[in-house]
């Protein structure tokens, strides 16, 4: 069901990763993503894998829980890599009907599969261990310098965190409206494209109306609680780097350094 998607959800537990400064986690996620695209060889991926594995272990988020939520995304990923098999030129491996499968194509697909799945797990790990509020604070602080060139950093990050909070609520709502329309004979399982699109109207119209109503209510509630943008706000949980955060930055540097050194000096290729 829709509500099973865990991407962007917070998982409540006590761990070092949960306690870490969101800036470290944001920077870490970004650096990790970059590290995945530095080299296209197995050495770098093995290092990335080990790094990811240890971070998952530290996070105390059950691996099953994490993967359960990624099923749908993984299907998309799989399709993407299949395309790569067909569209890469190189040494032919075998032919299916009109399509030539090349060695390079298979290698490419495998690489992309690895990259993207690490990337998704890595970033979902961030949202699983950081509350949206912390995430907002972290983003706002990291992007703070952009305020000088009139980028509404606070507003954007506030919008993001609210969106994250309302995802599960809207998911549940979608489920409910869908069932209600099915009780009125609506058919969401039609195979024909046109019918499928038509069937979405009774779902989307109420959903949008409800989303707007919620947005309206929320805006009113925020104003009633004296929200007036980022100016003059204090923080309940101000961001202060602690020892653990410096250690984490250190570990990140070591990780990136080892990816660069090993990836360059002892590359292992799939082919």
């Amino acid at each position: 069901m829709l509500r099973d998607i865990t991407l962007g959800q917070y998982y409540q537990t006590e761990s070092v990763l949960h306690r870490m400064d969101p800036r470290v986690k944001l920077a870490g996620t970004l650096i990790y993503m970059i590290s995945l695209f530095l080299y296209k060889n197995l050495t770098a991926y093995i290092l990335a894998f080990l790094f990811l594995l240890s971070v998952i272990k530290i996070s105390k988020v059950p691996f099953k829980y994490m993967v359960k939520g990624l099923k749908t995304v993984m299907v998309l990923l799989f399709i993407t890599s299949i395309f790569n098999i067909f569209y890469t030129k190189g040494e032919p491996l075998f032919t299916i009907w009109k399509f030539v499968i090349t060695k390079e194509g298979v290698a490419n697909a495998v690489y992309i599969m690895i990259r993207l799945s690490f990337l998704i797990i890595g970033s979902s790990l961030m949202t699983l261990t950081t509350t949206p509020n912390q995430l907002t604070d972290g983003l706002e602080k990291l992007l703070g310098p952009l305020k000088k060139i009139k980028v509404p950093v606070h507003e954007v990050s506030m919008m993001m965190s609210i969106a994250l909070r309302f995802i599960p609520i809207l998911m549940e709502e979608t489920d409910k409206i869908m069932k209600a329309q099915m009780a009125r004979g609506a058919n969401f399982e039609s195979k024909k494209l046109m019918e499928k699109i038509k069937a979405m109207v009774p779902l989307l119209v109420p959903l949008f109306i409800s989303a707007f109503r919620r947005a309206n209510d929320l805006a009113m509630a925020m104003e009633a609680r004296c929200y007036q943008g980022g100016e003059g706000r204090t923080r309940m949980k101000p961001l202060v780097y602690k020892k653990i955060d410096y250690v984490a930055y250190g570990v990140l540097i070591i990780y990136v350094a080892s990816v660069i050194i090993c990836g360059r000096l002892i590359p292992i290729h799939l082919l």
Binding site: A183, R184, N187
Partner: protein, 284 residues
């Protein structure tokens, strides 16, 4: 027997390490023309149970029979079931979507593949049944008042001409007058049209006056299944599970405790008044 729920269990998340049993071995028989109150607090499984009855949720275990036919049989027409067992969800006005009231009510019968004329006839009849005036037919449903929107949404299900009408908390969020209007409208449907009605609620008071039978659910199980008077006798037990008997039951109990020789049977104001007057006269 119109609808038979036979040893039905439902487990959510059976494949995870935290399965939740929403329904545990439910047995229930619903006869034609009955008016049943299904009571339980939030999370008692009452909403899950009614979604089983029209096939929206499939039971993990057990069977459901509609007119004696197993609804889980391969050749059973599910779509037909959903039109025959009409389910009105909580806050049904949230499902309105058409440009005007009339087309919205047409949605259900249209999905049944009926001819246009029949669809419109049914929509017209349904709107009349819920008491919506002609002048509102071509207005946007979103311009109506809360109570009217709810009536339109109920008409949307009625237009499919169901044999069983299930309503999940049809009075939630309405003011006292609106609540009474909706409830007596439903009672009328049951009496005049002979529709079997299942009313899901967490308020005993609301249903006490109207229903023939009360089914009390708690933690996915049926706790009581009897006439209102019978059920309210167990008001202490009802309290323990976070429900309450009608205020009148409490009043009569307290009177009796204080030494006024009244029966604790009455559940409505009218009955209580008659009882107290009777006792007063005897006293004279």
């Amino acid at each position: 027997m119109l609808l038979v729920v036979d040893h039905v269990s439902c487990i959510y998340g059976a494949d995870t390490n935290m399965p939740v049993a929403a329904l545990k071995d439910i047995n229930l028989v619903i006869k034609e023309g009955e008016f049943i109150g299904l009571i339980g607090h939030t999370g008692s499984g009452k909403s899950t149970l009614v979604q089983h009855m029209n096939g929206l949720i499939k039971a993990t275990d057990g069977a459901i029979y509609f007119h004696g036919q197993d609804i889980y049989d391969g050749d059973f027409d599910k779509k037909n079931l959903r039109s025959k067992v009409g389910l009105v969800f909580q806050y049904p006005e949230h499902q309105l979507f058409e440009v005007d009231v009339f087309s919205d009510v047409c949605f259900g019968p249209k999905n049944l593949g009926l001819p246009k004329k029949e669809v419109e006839l049914r929509a017209y009849k349904a709107l009349k049944q819920v008491g919506i005036l002609d002048e509102y037919f071509y207005q946007s449903p979103f311009d109506l008042s809360g109570g009217q929107k709810r009536r339109v949404a109920i008409a949307g299900v009625l237009a499919m001409e169901p044999e069983v009408l299930i309503l999940d908390e049809p009075t939630a969020g309405l003011d006292p007058k609106g609540r009474d209007e909706i409830l007596s409208m439903i009672k009328n449907l049951q009496k005049e049209m002979g529709i079997t009605v299942i009313l899901v609620s967490h308020s005993m008071e609301d249903v006490a006056e109207y229903v023939d039978r009360i089914v009390v659910m708690n933690k996915g199980e049926i706790l009581f299944n009897a006439e209102p008077k019978e059920v309210f006798k167990h008001y202490k037990q009802l309290e323990e599970i976070g429900l309450a008997a009608p205020a009148v039951t409490y009043i009569m109990e307290k009177c009796k405790e204080a030494g006024i020789p009244v029966s604790t049977e009455p559940t409505t104001i009218y009955e209580a008044k008659q009882e107290i007057l009777k006792v007063l006269v005897q006293r004279k």
